[in-house]
Structure formats: structure tokens, C-alpha cells
Symmetry: C2
Subunit: 707 residues, 2 copies
């Protein structure tokens, strides 16, 4: 059974404990057990604090206890900072003492190898037995600025704010904390995940989504512990708050060995990409971007759309901002006539009243105030970026105050400042930052931040996906029988005829295909399924059958079938003398349609990935393929995955051809999703080609690999 | 005649003038004429200074003259800051007074419309008559920190350094100057291009390339004045110094209306992209990137290759750096056995000795020093990024000193610091910056900067391109005759038979094609050129001939040709009753080969752009096309443009097919380049398809648009 995601409700004692025990607390400066205790004290934590150390009576002014079991009051959180070999007994004691949650700082677990992993598993087993949840081991700890609580060994405590930061790297968390102290970034929570033995990113994302002090959730992760839990937690959370993720390690896994077209198209990072998209997670590619977006989300509202207004006192930076906006997929707002009229009436004749609005080098604060107010009033404008260059006339401070004042009157539209300069503009930039208007030195950063906000707008505006309908005419028993037979025959790659049978069992139209081991049998099958006939050599060992003369098409008579059966057999023997085919697949030849591929590969974290794209022999050359997770797939998403390919241009009628039946393809993909969800033993599948017709579609060649 | 690029030699009096006159100098604070004069004085300029103002005897302590003609000494540079309507007489006076160069600050010229443009042209005419070169008008001025000279109205003067910054936007120049004063960026020259009436980016790039005080050339441009001059200047300069360009306005021009496949594939920005690549210019997409690279180039050597070593005291940031390196196309260095042995012997057992090297959270300066020295010694390593997280053991200052010391011993390999944190690390970051080691807060920025350096390594290592050979068998007269005949017939789109004639005239293999206006003529042509025959309706108005039954293939007898001539004619009449075809092209049917397209479109700045890619009816669907400028094209570049397409995978023998004759395609592209260079009236050309065979290649369908 998959563990449910732990929401904030169950983690309240972790972030807002009534009492905290520090096991391994020390009076010796520089010791981890001393740093943690001092951190708990120094952050202003108002609950009870119990240092645990068998060799001390009192540490940092607090009475110390030899064991957690001796503490006279209930303890919500125990922070464990004793050497790894001493952790298990301590955990057992915590359980007996009724501790609710553990933060295990100690290293020496999974990260050190098999022995450590065993120790870690035992740790979790003991904790679970007592109903305790575990952060770590091998973590820096957690912080909550609103409680306040600093149960970590990090130096410093973040400014209070609305950003929850969840990090799989402790060093990165410490670095970011230190860096944030020199910026105006504030945080609600810091969570160091450590080895994620129990509580992981999914739990903390869910908790942060529930947390009223958090407005945006940032994650740095290197992997997810459980793909499905992550999908569930992130999908729910992203409807309530933006989740911005920096996922690293994209280059590590390397390409998997893959025996299918579809598998070969999937890089190690693709499943994450597809999963993040599905869950509404905003993925960034750099740490700067992570924090630029964090600041924007923390300080600014989510816009209604992606139409950006730009106000500048100089042409060049306005053009740079416009370029970036187009690169990021934002729209440059077209002002209403009323806005244009107002700008025209009030601004100098040389000013540009179109977007970007150029208030000119001699533009002072009043001109900025007027222009910003007008464009923000315009319902075609969803957000504004205000660029200030240090001209002689520029009034940086006064302009900043004007921006703040106008932005306050339109609180539903994000406003960003760009103060392009150094000391001259410092006062203005400071005013903006203090008043919650993100302010940057270069225009592209502001526009990029707006790009992140607009991305989230699309996430919240997307309708919830309906689950796929339950299709009738599905015969699971037949599929089971096919798989069983193949396995009994020691085959994990199914024959074409077996693949066709699986399609039929799931109501997927497929060209009738049966295996013949003798020429007479081939003729009998041909007579049964009807002419014209295609013969294809049946052997999982032969990848490109056409190339060795293993395929004969357009056979119209029993005589042709008979003759070509032998021809194929002898071609194969000549080309591949070591391969003994299982026989020859006899298939009714299908009329030519638009060739597409529908494929499946299975990701270790997120399960089956479904692929759709241009089919035929050029699949791997053209790589025109879109992907979705089978998990939670909806008809709307299937339509989207079709329309985002170039194949769709063909399907809707390229160069005057009649449009193909996209609905029939949606139906096939939906049934494939059902099939691979029902049968986890399907590792890979290529249906290539599927022929799409004006009416209907049909699978021609089906290759399935099972485990 | 194209003006030659002006090198530094001719511009020395501009940057190192013996004397400077400020025309429009004023004693009134805040006036432009006062700011400029004060700037010239305050920067420490050691030459003679002459304020020109008819209403003053003395300004800012310098004797003023009523006119430049009254100045008793020769004047190298006159800075003109009088209202636009007063500029021409002043320029005339400057000419008569023997002034060498003008910096025209005054606005009110081209940027204001037709009248201003006329005024500007007159300005240049007068200046040229007197042999004076002009910066501006409508510019901020120029600065040279080494002279020193500040002939501008910008507030402030940059720190001395090795970066030349050339900007088409005055406001951006002023903003960058102001911003740079709060950073450790130093500049050699600032040039505000203004309206570029005379001297433009090409002149100043050439000058900066000659300038011994400049190590890296930065440009912000919105367009180039003259594409060919730019190509020449930038190509020469980039072999000597890195040129980093932020070209904005990429979204402005919009797609051109295009009547060819090739034209439709070309976005407004593509020609710049192709030209920059050809000239060895490093293009950046944001201002942050511009200055990150500037700093790296100014402070660090150009590496020998792109193999990066990463040293870190924490896993997470090391992974982020690795990801970015792979995204930027850098190689993660594989250490030699000697390096690995040395690292293994000296570092703790838990440390990672592979790249990234992890010196662990308790790594102090000595461990960094050792690891950095070892990896920099390794000949498989071209550069190093050193990441420091604020762990308890980290010694930021001492580590910085160690990095500086080790880096000095290997001056040919770039080293970058990443200090991930705030105050704790400040001292170390400051030491690195002061000692010329670029230091950043986030790993991706350092890796990106290294990406820029490695890009430049490829530029300097590229061999110089050989010009295309002079091909024999070229009959220019025949092409001229074809174009003349078409124009006399009021056609700018040539018929297929005419296109074929042009191919023949340039020695490009083409399927024999002749125009028949009557069925009997078609038969006669067929008898002449040989069977099998293809008939294609000949009309520039019919784009997709196949779709309306305008093409018949595989005709083997006179009777078939005759019958199908009438069939095509009647099909066309039925589908397009308003179109009267010129006749029917009779072509010898070519055996099927691999279909590619070779096309040409003409860019307003850079001349003909040649395209190569997958051909046939899916060209615009698949967009598998590479581009090069015809100007300066070499055989090596033609080979590259072929190999970088997916079409090349087909050509070299996809799925067991025999490889096609790539040499024959190179030959066709080279001859096409010659053709479009010889005939500037060729506006667009599609040769689609070209059939490539095991031996040879042949043009099937040629569409040429002339002007």
C-alpha cells in the first residue's frame, strides 16, 4: 500500500511543537549538539526546551536530562544529534516517551552504503511502531519563522516571510539561508530533507500547501522518493500555491538501454519534465531563477493573464524587455483606445504611447505615475514592468514612490521595477524592494519573473482533468493468457500476432494478424481473414524486417501467399542464418493512411509514459513525439498531446488532403493508457505504424515487451 | 563603392586627441554644454580644452572662443552640443578650422523623421568634404579611460579596465556606466553610436580590435548599418579579441511576406544569427549574460578547450554546476589516472575524487588548494569552477587566497569562484574579485561564463575559410537572357523550364525540362529528351500543382504524352478556371533519390541566405533546414550545413540504405552560392526537390523569383 501524503495537520507538532528535546545537546561551543540547542533558544522559540545529555545537569541555562524518558513533560519534537550507532536506542526511547516527531541530524545512514541503509530502515521501523514521523537522517534540520523555531545546526535564522524552501541538499539550504540574509527575501519554513527515510518532498509540499504563512513553495530536489505520491501531492498543492522546483541531476542517469522506438526517444529527464507539467509544477533551470520567481510570487499577485505593459524612459531597454517577453511566451499588451487617447493627450508628442510606453529621457516621476496608472487601468493589461534609466531628469526615489502608490491601487496586477544603474538609483530600488515591488538591475530578469507568474496563471486556470471513461469490450483474461503463453515459451517480446491479440482484447482496431508456421496454414489464415495479404516474418530478434526481405505485401491469391511464404523464409535464412523465426505473421493488408506511432515506455518513478507522433521508419530520425504520463491521463490531455506534434499538421489535412479521424486516435491512446495501467508487466510498447483514416484508425504493427 | 572599415589608426585623434573643443559649452550647471565641459576637465584629460561660446569669455576656468575658427591651435575633436538647426554651420566651421573628428551630441536628426534625416545627410556631406569623421548625432559621446577622456554628457567616468563597450542606446550606456561603478567592472572605452550617420559599430569594432588597452569588445546594437562591412570587421576582429553582442529588436521586424518555402522558413532574426556565427561573434540574450561574459573575458585567459573541472564542498551545488555544464555544451573533464591517484591519496575516503571533486563539508582551505592544484595540472582539464558553501569548516578568505595562488601558477587555464552565501563568505568573494577571479553567488552563472570562453576558443581555433573555387562551365550570358526574357514577358517568377535553364547555365545537374504550349510540341520534346516523361503545368500562379491534377508521371509513349497533355490542361481549367497556364513543362522523369531542398532567400543586410534540408512536400512541416550566408561561404561550411541537418542522417544511409553522394550536393550548393552572388536580382529560389543518388544528384523542380 502506498503511504498517504502527510498534510500539515499531522505535522503541526513538528513545526509548532509545545516542547523540543535536543538529544546529544552539548555545552561545548562548536559541537553540533551545542549549535542546535543555541539555535532553538536564540530564535525566540517560546515552548519548553529540554537538552538531553547523560553527562550534564544543565546546558546553556536549561536543566539537562540523562534520557528523553526522564523528561517530566510530553515532548513533541526530538532533535537527534548523537553518532549514528547510538541513534536506534535513542529512537526507541523517544517512542516510549511519547515523542511525536523526530528530526535526525546524525549522518552515517543510507549515504554510507548498505550497512547504513539497513540502520536507516530499522530507524524508520522503530519510529513507525511508535507512530513517530522522521525528518532525515543526515539533515540540517527544520526552521519555521512564524512559530518561531530553529531546530537546525545552520548558522543564522531567516527573515520572516512567505516562502517555504524544501531542500534535498543541506549545504544548499545553508548557503541560501546565508545569502538571503543579505537580500530582502523572507521565508516561512526551511526544511532540510536529508535522506528522506520517512517524510519526503511530497509530505512537505502538502504541508506547505496547507500552511497559511506560506505563499510560494520552493524545492530543490535531486530525485523524488515516490513518483505517484509526488504527483498527487504536487497536483493538489499547485492549485493552491505556486510550486517552483529546481530539479538537478538531469545529466546523471544517462540514457536507458531501450529496445523500442519509444524507449529510445525518452531521455533520463523526460519523465520528470512530463510529470512536473502534469502536476502544475513550475520548473526552473537555475538557482537565480528559483529565487527571482520566489521573490515575485511572494510579493506579487498572480496575474489574470500574460499581457504585459512596459514603461520606460529609454528605447533600448524597452526593446530588450520586449524581446525577452516574446522569448518567454508573454504577450505585449495592446492598449485600448481609451488608454492610447489618454496617453496621447498627456504625454509629450515625441513619447511612444504604444507598448512599450516611452516617457522619454526627460520623464520625471509624475509622467511615470500617469503612464503606469493608465496602463494598469486598461483591462488588456495584466501586469507592468517599469524601466528607469539614470537620465538627468530621472527622479528615482520619487518615481519609486509613484510606482508603489499606483501599484497599491491595482493590487490584482503584478508590477515589477527595473532600475538600470548603480548608486544614482539606489534609493529608488530600495524603496521598491521594501514596499514589495520586485526590483532588478536588468530588464530580462523582471520579464522572466513575470513569465513565471503567467505560467502559474495557466496552472490555476486549467480545468481539472476528468479521468478516462471506463471503456467496454475489454477482455483482461485474454491479455493475461497471451502474456502467460509467451512467458511459458520463454519470450518477453511478444510476436506480432500476440500484439494484435492484445489490441483486440482492449478494443483497439488492429489489422487481423495470425501466426502461420507452415505455408498451408498461411493460406488457410489468408482465406479466413481475407485478401490482400501481407506476410511478415515473426521473430523478436529481427528488428528491421523489410530490410532483409522479411515482408511481402499485396498478395491476392492462395498461390501468391504460398509462394511468398517460402520466399520470406528463404530470404531470412540467407540473411540471418542463425535466427529461427517463430513463423510468419499473416495480416490483412490495410489501406494506406497517415502514419503515426503510439508508444509506451515505463519510468521507474512515474510509471508508463505514453508517446504519440509521426510514425513509420522515420520516427527516430524526426523525433516528432509528445509524451504524457498514463497516470491520470484525460481525454483533453490526449487531444493536447496530439495537437502539439507536427504529425497533427498532417492529420488535420496537410496540402489539401482530407483531415484524418483524430477522435479515433484519441480512443486508441486512451485504451492504450488503460491497458498499460491494468498490466504493470508491460514494459515497452510500440504501435508503429497506426494508420489514421478519414474515418477510423488501425494499428498495423504492434510490439510489446513484458517483464 | 562600399566604405572601408575605419581602423584605430584613423581614429586615434578621436580617442587620444591633442585638443578638444566643446561647441555649445556653457557655464550654467545642468546644461549639457556645461556637463560635457566639466566631464572633459574632471576625467583628467591632459590635452588642450577649448570651450566655444560666443557669449562668454571664460567657462569653468578656460578661455572661451566665440567660434571654432577663432581657436589659435589645431583641434582634433569637436564635441557639438548646440541645437540641431545650428549644427550645420558649426560643422562647416569645424571643417574650415581643420578639426579632425566630430562628436555630435545634438538630437533632432534622423530620429525625428524625414526633415531630420535630410539634415543628417547634409551634416555627413559637409564633414566628408572636410575629411572629418562623425560620431552621432544624437549620441551621449565617447570615453577612453586610458587617455583619459570623457567627451560625453554621462554622469560619472568608468573604472579603468579592458572592456570596450559600444552601444546603440545612449540610455543603456549611461545605465551600464552607473551600474559598473558599484561593481568591479573596468572599461577601456565607451562609445555611444547615436544615429550612426557616419562611424558605426563596424568602425568601432575594428578600432577596438586594434586597441592594445582593450581585451574584450561588447556591443549593444539594434541593427547593423551595413551587413557586409559588419561581417568583414567582425570576422577580422573576432580572431583577435572576443566580441560579445546583445542584439535586440529580434521581435520587431515581423515575418516577411514570402513566396518560397525557403523564405517562409526564415524569421526576421535568422540572418543576424547566421551572420554572427559566421563572423565568430558571441551572441548573448540578456544584459546579465553580456556583463558576466565581459568580466570573464576581461579577467581570465581563453581556455584551450571546453573540459571543465568542478571542485565543491557539497554535493547539491556540484550537481547543479554539472547540469548547467552539460546544458551549455561543456565537457565534464575526465581526470587522468595520475590526478585520480593523487586525489585518492590525499583526500578523505568519503570525498569524491571524480569530477565534481567533493572535498566534503569539513574541507578547509588546504584541501581546496590541493584539489585545485591537482586538477589544474591535469592536461584533460581546461578550466575549473570552485564552489564554496558556508559550512562550519569552510575558510572563505583563506580558501580564496589559495584559489588565487594556485590559479596564478596555471595562468593559461580559467578559474571561476562560486561563493554560495552572503556575509559569511563576503571576504572570500571580495578577495577573488580583486585578484581577477570572477566570483558569483550561483554555480550556473560561473558555468555559463565558462561556456562563453569555450565558445570563443572554438572561434579562434577554427581554420580560416577558403573561398569557393571558381567553377568552370558557367554561362552568365544565358542566365541574363533568361531573366531578360521573363521580364519582357512581365514575369518575376520564372517558369520551371527557365529555372532548369538557369541551373544548366551554372553547371548544376537538372532533369531536362522544356516548355510545351501544344500537345504536339510536348511529344516532340519527349522524343528529344527521352522517356519516361513527367508533365507539369507551367504557371507561377499554381503553387501545389499535384493537388489539382497538374502533374502526370511515368509517361512512356508519345500517345501517353499527348493524352496526358490534354488531361492536365483540362484538370487545371476545371480547378482554376481563371488561371491560364503558360503551357506544360515536359521533363524527363528522374529515378527516385533522397529528397532534399536547396533554397535561397535574400536578407536586406547580409545578402543571400542559402538553405539546405529535408526536401519534398514536408519541408515546411518538418523545418529541418540549416542556413548559411552565401557571402564568404566555403566548402567546409557547406559540408557543415549539410551534416547538421536530420536530412544528413538519411543521406549517409539510414536504415541500411546506401549512402548518398554528399559531394554532389556540396557542388550544387557551391554553384548556387556563386549564382546568387553573381545575380543580385535573384530574390528567392527553391530547388525542391533535389534528388541525391548513390552517385550524383539532380535538381527536379526549380523556382526562381527575380526583381
Amino acid at each position: 500500500m502506498r503511504r498517504k501524503v502527510t498534510g500539515l495537520q499531522n505535522l503541526t507538532p513538528l513545526f509548532r511543537p509545545v516542547s523540543v528535546a535536543i538529544i546529544g545537546a552539548s555545552g561545548k561551543p562548536g559541537k553540533i549538539g551545542n549549535i542546535i540547542l543555541k539555535n532553538v533558544i536564540a530564535c525566540g522559540y517560546s515552548g519548553r526546551i529540554f537538552p538531553i545529555n547523560p553527562k550534564a545537569d544543565e546546558i546553556e541555562g536549561y536543566p539537562a536530562y540523562p534520557s528523553i524518558t526522564q523528561v517530566p513533560e510530553p515532548v513533541d519534537v526530538a532533535v537527534i544529534a548523537v553518532p549514528a550507532r547510538g541513534v536506534l536506542p535513542v529512537v526507541e526511547e523517544c517512542g516510549r516517551a511519547g515523542v511525536k516527531h523526530l528530526i535526525v541530524i546524525s549522518a552515517g545512514f543510507k549515504e554510507t552504503g548498505a550497512e547504513g541503509l539497513a540502520l536507516e530502515k530499522e530507524l524508520v521501523t522503530i519510529a513507525r511502531r511508535h507512530g513517530m514521523r522522521v525528518v532525515g537522517p543526515n539533515c540540517v534540520g527544520i526552521m519555521d519563522t512564524h512559530t518561531p523555531l530553529n531546530a537546525s545546526f545552520a548558522a543564522g535564522f531567516p527573515k520572516k516571510g512567505k516562502i517555504a524552501f524544501i531542500s534535498q541538499s543541506g549545504a544548499m539550504l545553508v548557503a541560501i539561508l546565508d545569502w538571503s540574509l543579505t537580500s530582502s527575501l523572507g521565508f516561512s519554513k526551511f526544511v532540510s530533507l536529508g535522506n528522506k527515510s520517512d517524510l519526503d518532498e511530497s509530505d512537505f509540499i502538502a504541508a506547505a500547501a496547507d500552511d497559511p504563512t506560506t505563499k510560494v513553495i520552493l524545492c530543490y530536489i535531486e530525485d523524488v522518493s515516490d513518483g505517484m505520491r509526488f504527483l498527487d501531492a504536487a497536483t493538489r498543492a499547485s492549485r493552491r500555491k505556486p510550486i517552483v522546483v529546481l530539479k538537478s541531476g538531469t545529466s546523471q542517469a544517462g540514457a536507458q538501454a531501450a529496445s523500442s522506438h519509444t524507449g529510445a526517444l525518452v531521455g533520463s529527464d523526460l519523465a520528470y519534465e512530463v510529470a512536473f507539467r502534469r502536476a502544475g509544477v513550475i520548473r526552473v533551470r537555475s538557482m537565480s531563477e528559483l529565487f527571482d520567481l520566489a521573490f515575485a510570487f511572494a510579493k506579487q499577485p498572480v496575474p489574470k493573464g500574460d499581457c504585459l505593459a512596459i514603461i520606460t524612459n529609454s528605447g533600448g531597454p524597452g526593446i530588450v524587455a520586449t524581446d525577452t517577453a516574446e522569448q518567454k511566451g508573454l504577450s505585449i499588451a495592446r492598449f485600448s483606445k481609451a488608454t492610447l487617447d489618454a496617453l496621447r493627450a498627456e504625454l509629450p508628442r515625441e513619447a511612444s504611447i504604444y507598448n512599450p510606453v516611452d516617457v522619454l529621457g526627460d520623464g520625471r516621476a509624475d509622467r511615470y505615475r500617469f503612464a503606469l496608472a493608465k496602463v494598469l487601468e486598461d483591462e488588456n493589461v495584466d501586469a507592468a514592468v517599469v524601466l528607469v534609466c539614470p537620465t538627468a531628469a530621472a527622479e528615482p526615489g520619487e518615481t519609486a514612490r509613484a510606482i508603489v502608490e499606483v501599484a497599491r491601487q491595482v493590487p490584482e496586477k503584478p508590477v515589477f521595477g527595473v532600475y538600470m544603474g548603480g548608486e544614482i538609483l539606489e534609493e529608488g530600488a530600495r524603496i521598491l524592494s521594501e514596499e514589495g515591488i520586485p526590483c532588478y538591475t536588468f530588464p530580462e530578469v523582471a520579464v522572466n519573473a513575470m513569465g513565471g507568474l503567467a505560467h502559474y496563471t495557466r496552472v490555476v486556470q486549467a480545468k481539472e482533468d476528468e479521468p478516462l471513461p471506463e471503456y467496454g469490450g475489454v477482455d483482461r483474461e485474454r491479455v493475461r493468457a497471451v502474456f502467460k503463453a509467451a512467458k511459458e515459451d520463454n519470450r518477453l517480446v511478444l510476436l506480432g500476432s500476440e500484439g494484435a491479440a492484445v489490441m483486440e482484447a482492449y478494443g483497439i482496431p488492429v489489422a487481423p494478424t495470425k501466426l502461420a508456421t507452415r505455408a498451408e496454414e498461411a493460406v488457410a489464415i489468408a482465406e479466413e481473414i481475407g485478401y490482400p495479404i501481407v506476410l511478415k516474418v515473426a521473430s523478436p530478434k529481427i528488428i528491421h524486417k523489410t530490410d532483409i526481405g522479411g515482408v511481402r505485401m499485396g498478395l491476392d491469391t492462395p498461390g501468391e501467399v504460398m509462394a511468398n511464404f517460402w520466399a520470406v523464409m528463404s530470404n531470412v535464412q540467407r540473411s540471418l542464418p542463425d535466427v529461427i523465426p517463430h513463423g510468419i505473421d499473416v495480416q490483412r493488408m490495410a489501406p494506406k493512411g497517415t502514419e503515426v506511432i503510439i508508444g509506451v515506455t515505463r519510468d521507474i518513478h512515474f510509471g508508463p509514459l505514453i508517446a504519440f507522433g509521426l510514425g513509420g521508419i522515420y520516427v527516430n530520425l524526426l523525433k516528432d513525439v509528445s509524451f504524457r504520463l498514463a497516470h491520470g491521463l484525460s481525454l483533453r490531455e490526449i487531444e493536447k498531446m496530439i495537437t502539439e506534434t507536427k504529425a497533427f499538421s498532417l492529420l488535420r489535412g496537410y496540402r489539401g488532403q482530407k483531415p484524418a479521424d483524430v477522435g479515433a486516435l484519441v480512443n486508441i491512446i486512451a485504451r492504450v493508457a488503460r491497458l498499460v495501467t491494468d498490466f504493470p508487466e508491460i514494459m515497452e510498447m510500440d504501435i508503429n505504424p497506426v494508420f489514421a483514416y478519414e474515418s477510423g484508425a488501425q494499428a498495423l504493427d504492434v510490439k510489446i515487451t513484458i517483464s
